[in-house]
């Protein structure tokens, strides 16, 4: 098979326009990011060509900016809590979809996955009505509940995909050998799903850090970082926003590289206990 694939790939020479198009799309995707980073070092502020007076002054101002760092801390707390909720309910949901039959399963699947494709405004507003009726005061907690609920969908899809690839033989063996369901879950199921779970956790964390459409409606007194940035944007453009965005972009890049390394390494090692079953 291998030689056929390479034969077919060399058979169809890639047309020049296709390469040019790909290059243009990449330029389009990266141009705003490049400009964002470049102007975080621009002494004259945002905009104005060519950039002049390169400086790290905006970063200095940023590091002394209390409200921004408060909002960063809030966002980290929200993301962590939302991640725990999404995993705590998303992993069982994936197991339920994979292994249990119950009335309303199709509806349940739809409902869980809906926030993935629904515009955030609908999720945000419907929760706002819930909190209004239940007389819950808006705060970081309501944002956590909103993010957690919306991101269960991510945990469920990722873990469900992992379960589909998993053979049940190991779990069966574990149960046959007298382990309880609880032991089997922690010693066999979770370790074998480790990659899907870590992937889901990273994804949920970053999505929550970045989320604004749902938070927009559930915000109390304390801002998350995107809402803090939003508030400042309404007052005017400041290079501080470029600076904080650049820093967050760097952290995201590191997270991607770490995740990529983890995955390639894990793919090289076999499933836990696989040798016992075979």
């Amino acid at each position: 098979m291998e030689f056929l694939v390479s034969a077919s790939e060399s058979l169809v020479k890639s047309p020049r326009w296709l390469k040019a198009h790909a290059l243009a799309v990449f330029a389009f995707l990266y141009l705003p990011i490049a400009i964002l980073i470049l102007y975080s070092f621009n002494g004259q502020g945002v905009g104005g060509f060519p950039p002049r007076d390169l400086t790290v002054n905006w970063y200095r101002i940023l590091f002394n900016d209390g409200p921004i760092w408060d909002s960063v801390l809030n966002s980290l707390i929200v993301a962590l809590a939302a991640m725990l909720i999404a995993l705590a309910f998303g992993i069982p949901a994936a197991l339920a979809l994979d292994r249990a039959q119950f009335p309303g399963k199709a509806l349940f699947r739809r409902l869980v996955l809906l926030p993935l494709i629904l515009p955030g405004i609908i999720t945000g507003l419907s929760l706002l009505m819930l909190f209004r009726v239940a007389e819950v005061k808006l705060s970081l907690l309501t944002i956590v509940l909103g993010h957690g609920t919306a991101l269960i969908s991510v945990a469920t899809t990722e873990v469900f995909a992992g379960l589909q690839k998993l053979s049940r033989a190991q779990e069966e063996a574990s149960l046959d050998l007298g382990a309880t369901y609880w032991q089997t879950f922690w010693r066999i199921t979770v370790p074998n799903l480790k990659l899907s779970i870590i992937g889901a956790a990273l994804l949920i964390f970053t999505l929550s850090m970045d989320e604004i459409a749902v938070s927009f409606f559930l915000i109390g007194r304390d801002n998350t970082l995107p809402l803090e940035i939003w508030g400042r944007l309404r007052r005017g453009i400041t290079p501080e926003i470029n600076a904080i965005s650049t820093i967050i972009f760097l952290f995201s890049l590191i997270a991607i590289v770490v995740w990529y390394r983890l995955r390639t390494r894990a793919e090289a090692t076999p499933e836990i206990g696989a040798e016992l079953v075979e």
Binding site: M1, S8, L11, V12, S14, L18, K19, H21, A22, V25, F28, L29, P32, I33, L36, Y39, G47, G48, A88, F89, P92, A93, A96, R99, A100, F102, F108, L111, V112, P115, I117, L118, P119, I121, I122, L125, S126, M129, V133, L145, T149, I152, R168, Y181, D210, I212, A213, F216, F217, P226, I229, L233, I237, I241, S245, I248, F249, L253, I256, Y260
Partner: protein, 282 residues
């Protein structure tokens, strides 16, 4: 092999959570849309169809909805135009660099949505990067003011944001095409264009549909890009909803509009899934 207790333990907690935080809120939205607001700014729980009547009779609502759909359709078209050939290039012509290119498409997704919209604002503004560049090289003598605060700016920004989203399902469906089908088509004498249109493209339609739905639905419900870059002519339906829930304080009417959006979105997802099933090959 799984006992009843196990199945209950994995089923009941997520079911309960989803019921409380998704099902009940949607039902509440449904209820709200039949209520009204009294003179004293409190919600009156009397059931009537006034909100829906207002939606149908006041042109501003359905005109804005149509404009939003038009903006969303353009975003869908352009992200397809950018995303499809890119996915095709990666899947069939990138060779050993496939993984690297793939990561390169994903990375912009990790830059905050808000920050990317903001970046376009700094590019397109009257004192922005593009205008000052054009004047610097003496292509223009005055700043072009149609760039920012226009539907154009909204379409451009949303296309930038949703191109990777459309790319992903298309790429996945292209990767699933068995390569020996392509090989067979060549062997039987088809030209590359014939192979593409008769073999590859039909097999990628499920991915195209999923990507198109993503781009259309998510940009239809967007309210931040229009607020930031749209100006008065770029107002979208969600902006009306936001103001009804805020300063205008008419939650019931806002709920009615949201519910119409929800119905529209669900209908779109339903049809796109039906089509996907029809075109998916197994």
């Amino acid at each position: 092999m799984f006992s009843r207790a196990y199945r209950t333990a994995v089923t009941v907690p997520p079911l309960a959570w989803v019921a409380v935080f998704l099902l009940v809120p949607y039902l509440l939205m449904f209820c709200y849309s039949f209520w009204s607001v009294s003179e004293s700014q409190s919600i009156v729980h009397s059931w009537n169809l006034d909100n829906y009547h207002e939606l149908l009779t006041k042109p501003v609502y359905w005109q804005t909805l149509l404009r939003s759909m038009w903006i969303a359709a353009r975003v869908m078209f352009f992200s397809m135009l950018l995303g499809y050939p890119l996915a095709y290039f990666l899947s069939f012509h990138a060779g050993g660099r496939k993984d690297l290119y793939y990561q390169l498409v994903i990375i912009p997704l990790w830059v905050s949505y808000l920050v990317r919209a903001y970046a376009w604002k700094t590019i397109l503004g009257t004192d922005g990067v593009l205008n000052t560049l054009l004047q610097y090289v003496h292509l223009t003598s005055h700043p072009l003011d149609f760039l920012l605060y226009s539907p154009f700016a909204v379409v451009l920004t949303l296309t930038h944001i949703y191109t990777p989203f459309t790319f992903l399902p298309i790429y996945a469906s292209l990767e699933h095409i068995p390569r020996n089908l392509v090989e067979a088509s060549h062997d039987l004498g088809a030209t590359p264009a014939q192979t593409f249109w008769r073999v590859i493209f039909p097999l990628s339609i499920p991915g195209v549909l999923a990507g198109a739905t993503f781009a259309f639905v998510l940009s239809l419900g967007d309210f931040l890009a229009p607020l930031l870059l749209g100006g008065p002519s770029g107002i979208m339906i969600s902006n009306i909803v936001v103001s009804l829930f805020g300063a205008a304080y008419n939650w019931p009417l806002g709920a009615a509009i949201s519910l119409c959006m929800l119905a529209l979105v669900l209908a779109l997802i339903f049809f796109s899934e039906r089509l996907e099933k029809k075109w998916s090959f197994s």
